[in-house]
């Protein structure tokens, strides 16, 4: 595959006539014990667009991202207030099946974390949980997922090698393929390229554009240029005087980076602090 280094140019913000809202947070607050990590987050995530969440370290970006697929539930002291809706239904509702929420909302982590299994077994792990046993079907899903994450050509002859034997960038694409194999609707990415070299980073960014055609993507990044390059919408977060994270501004990426409304946003994106 030819390597294309392309800086995506965005024209003026084009208003989508009928943006579909895939996910929506309503007065979302997250508490860890007595500490209020997030306060009153209200935002709408548009379907099949890339939404970036930026802000200085410690402002709660990761906490917000992890709320979307209920990974915060893993912390015993975490308490959620407010709602997050997926296709209109609150994922923190009473009878919600967390397992299914997490299938529909996939996640890629900062450090690639493939299982110590073969590449094939890494990707087929998810589908097999759902009873897909037939070899042909699994082969098909594995190939399709690896193609979508732009890794197929590099590993198609060594599917039975360990996933840990790949380079960092390849491992991350493997993790993406693994997430895609269970047919999610939303993909969350927590600083997916921060542990990678610049070339791998650009490949991942290219990948995101392709993926956005079929999936809704929410990405947390501390790299503003990356947010500007890649995303359609950007959410700017900061901590308030109680050290709780808040959503300062949320708009089309173009606007955030050229005509920000809030002075704090302007300071941050122009590099005056952060």
């Amino acid at each position: 595959m030819d390597m294309k280094i392309e800086i995506k140019q965005k024209g003026d913000w084009v208003v989508d006539d009928n943006p579909n809202i895939k996910m929506k947070t309503t007065y979302l607050s997250v508490n860890y014990g007595k500490f209020r990590a997030l306060t009153d987050i209200n935002m709408e995530i548009s379907e099949q667009k890339i939404t970036a969440i930026i802000g200085p370290s410690g402002c709660g970006k990761s906490t917000l991202l992890r709320s979307f697929n209920r990974m915060n539930d893993l912390t015993p002291s975490a308490r959620i207030e407010g709602e997050i809706a997926l296709d209109g239904e609150n994922i923190y509702g009473k009878n919600v099946d967390v397992v299914d929420v997490r299938r529909r909302i996939g996640m890629v982590f900062q450090r690639p974390n493939p299982f110590p299994k073969s590449i094939y077994d890494n990707v087929s792990y998810g589908p097999r949980l759902y009873g897909i046993r037939d070899r042909n079907n699994l082969d098909g899903i594995v190939e399709s997922s690896l193609r979508q994450s732009a890794l197929w050509d590099e590993v198609k002859d060594k599917l039975h090698q360990s996933g840990m034997s790949l380079s960092g960038g390849q491992q991350q694409r493997l993790c993406i393929a693994r997430a895609l194999a269970v047919q999610p609707e939303v993909i969350l990415m927590d600083e997916p390229a921060s542990a990678l070299d610049p070339i791998s980073t650009l490949r991942i960014e290219e990948l995101m554009h392709d993926l956005a055609k079929s999936y809704t993507i929410i990405i947390v990044t501390h790299n503003m240029q990356q947010a500007a390059r890649v995303s359609d919408f950007t959410a700017m977060m900061m901590i308030d005087e109680t050290r709780s994270g808040r959503l300062i501004e949320y708009n089309a990426t173009n606007i955030i980076f050229t005509r920000p409304q809030d002075k704090r946003t302007e300071d941050y994106v122009t590099g005056r602090f952060g």
Binding site: D97, D100, P127, Y130, G131, I132, N137, S144, Q183
Partner: protein, 315 residues
């Protein structure tokens, strides 16, 4: 063909949902149940030992020698004295070599001797206690021609050694290197640094290790079977008395003690449990209670000490 897989997956999601949920709930609960199950023998044994042993415990039990077989009453003073003597001597025998070897292991972990030392410690910790007893027999009892408390304490010391070495080594490793360097920089010699600075710093943990080793040794029977053999007529009081009356020196009296066959609490338990006299069986339960109290108390003390140390470190 993605639509194909999407259908497959959707179907799988539906059909498998209930099954995955139930398996999850069942297996997770099972692990909790198994944990409780494993604790049942613990409480059962402790409960019964208290119940049946408690009935036998009275002052006479602790202060008298056993009566002849079949007669009621009497005590296990001989076994208590025996256990104390043998365990004490074993601790003395094991402590110094153990701590010194640990000093070596902590400072030179990668030399051939250091590696061999760690290997031997591991091996020794896995040797069955009865094999250690056989070793004690062939090493000491056979050449000497008689059973003795000394042979028994050597066997117990061998059992205690790996624990003492391992704990001391770990504790020494935890002492910050700056402490040692500071002492050396002041001009103190290595051995003075080790004894006056490092050892006290690690002392808490070392003592815990020794306590746990003692708790284990106090409960061991197999190594004593063919080293101390057992001796229902051992009477510490009369040995001391006759020694004083005959103007024997302290070392002579000690020699007499250590060279005689001797009983101990676990040995006595073992013997009494198998005798046909119900009074003896009752006494076996009493001995079990004493042993359990001893072992549990030491374990609790060691635990509390560890927790206190942890709190101290956290500040």
């Amino acid at each position: 063909m993605t639509t194909n897989y999407s259908e497959l997956l959707k179907r799988g999601v539906q059909t498998r949902r209930l099954r995955r949920k139930s398996v999850n709930g069942f297996m997770l609960s099972l692990t909790g149940i198994l944990t409780l199950l494993a604790l049942v023998p613990l409480f059962w044994i402790i409960g019964y030992v208290i119940y049946r042993g408690g009935k036998t415990l009275n002052l006479a039990f602790f202060t008298q020698l056993p009566k002849p077989m079949g007669m009621a009453g009497g005590g296990v003073l001989h076994a208590i004295e025996g256990s104390l003597i043998v365990t004490l001597m074993a601790t003395v025998l094991a402590f110094v070599p153990g701590v010194l070897a640990a000093f070596y292991a902590a400072r030179n972990p990668n030399t051939p001797l250091g590696i061999a030392l760690r290997f031997s410690t591991d091996v020794l910790s896995g040797v069955p206690s009865i094999v250690v007893g056989l070793f004690g027999y062939t090493l000491i009892v056979k050449p000497q021609g008689h059973y003795s408390a000394f042979a028994g304490s050597v066997a117990l010391a061998i059992l205690m050694l790996p624990t003492i070495i391992r704990t001391t080594e770990e504790m020494l490793k935890l002492v910050p290197g700056a402490l040692r360097e500071g002492s050396l920089a002041l001009g103190a010699s290595e051995w003075k640094t080790s004894l006056n600075v490092l050892l006290p710093a690690a002392m808490d943990g070392v003592i815990t290790g020794v306590l746990l080793a003692i708790a284990r040794a106090a409960g061991e029977t197999a190594p004593l079977l063919f080293t101390t053999l057992g001796n229902e007529r051992f009477d510490l009081g009369s040995i001391i008395k006759s020694g004083v009356q005959n103007h024997q020196g302290i070392f002579q009296i000690m020699g007499r003690i250590f060279n005689s066959p001797i009983d101990s609490l676990p040995l006595t338990l073992w013997k009494y449990a198998q005798q046909p006299y119900p009074e003896r069986v009752d006494q076996a339960w009493g001995v079990a209670l004493i042993l359990m109290i001893l072992v549990l108390t030491i374990n609790v003390i060691a635990r509390i000490w560890i927790e206190l140390r942890k709190k101290k470190l956290r500040g």
